[in-house]
């Protein structure tokens, strides 16, 4: 069962739909994993799921390194800060933060990627 869920979430990830949250939710709710252990497993999932599409982009020449490298550098600093927070803050805080992140992500997807294109299409028809 886990293999099937992992596969489906990875397909969504490859499509750029943003499914990492769903996989983490599955680990937390269905498998009752502890918060930080689930986050670690979710990160492994991300590593494997994004590897294929990154290699594809690299081969297709779609990765402008001049824009990518500064983002990686600055983002790595953020990663360090975020990972250090897990040592200081309790898992419940991360759980609530994750919930808020999912809620915002859901609202953004709903309004930005579903309703906005539908409204634009309707306006175009008019």
């Amino acid at each position: 069962m886990m293999a099937v869920i992992t596969f489906l979430c990875a397909v969504l990830c490859g499509l750029g739909v943003g499914s990492g949250g769903l996989f983490l939710l599955y680990l937390l709710r269905a498998l009752s994993m502890p918060q930080y252990a689930a986050q670690g497993t979710n990160l492994l999932f991300f590593c494997f799921a994004t590897l294929a599409s990154t290699l594809t982009s690299l081969r297709a020449g779609r990765l402008p390194l001049g824009r990518l490298l500064p983002l990686l550098l600055f983002g790595s600093l953020g990663v360090l800060g975020g990972a250090l927070l897990t040592l200081v803050l309790p898992a419940q805080t991360a759980r609530a933060g994750f919930g808020a992140f999912m809620l915002l992500g859901g609202l953004y997807t709903l309004f930005g990627r579903v309703l906005a294109p539908l409204l634009a299409r309707k306006r175009k028809k008019e």
Partner: protein, 166 residues
């Protein structure tokens, strides 16, 4: 930059300002920036120190989200990239995915050092996630994502609320 007000359709019309906080080098540039989102030439060529700063700030925040919450933080980065480079969707997606990959690798290493990883699951998720990622990237652009986005967004809203309230 070779961009003038004459390149903007109906310059007298009041368009929605994008970022009225740029530090322009000249007045014309300021006016043109306010029309960003209307003129394709402006969309792709205008670059200011502030837009770079915003992008770097978004990448720091994305990294921090990844480090703290164990999710990619890609949504925030992609949102920022789309905002600043609206005409380069393929590059935006590629940059975002590459960033998420590196952030995830780094965070995994840090979690291992911090003792958050229990070692369970690598064997279970390795093959399905590799295969699924490859299948997804092959399907990209071939299937209609609107319905998928709708289902996913409702699921995310429900899950987010249940995690916060429960």
């Amino acid at each position: 930059m070779g961009i003038t007000l004459s390149m903007i359709p109906n310059p007298e019309k009041k368009y929605k300002p994008l970022l009225p906080i740029f530090a322009p080098e000249d007045k014309n540039m300021y006016k043109i920036l306010l029309y960003k989102g209307v003129c394709p030439a402006v969309n792709t060529k205008v670059k200011s120190p502030l837009s770079s700063f915003l992008l770097y700030a978004a990448s720091v925040l994305s990294g921090a989200l990844c480090g703290f919450l164990g999710t990619g933080g890609g949504m925030l980065l992609l949102f920022s990239l789309r905002f600043l480079h609206p005409d380069e969707e393929k590059e935006n997606m590629a940059i975002c995915t590459a960033c998420v990959l590196l952030f995830s690798i780094l965070t995994t290493i840090l979690y291992k050092i911090e003792g958050h990883m229990d070692g369970v699951g690598i064997a279970l998720i390795l093959l399905p996630s590799l295969l699924g990622g490859a299948v997804g990237s092959l399907l990209l652009g071939r299937i209609h994502l609107l319905f998928l986005d709708l289902v996913l967004s409702l699921l995310l809203v429900y899950a987010g609320l249940s995690l916060i309230l429960g």
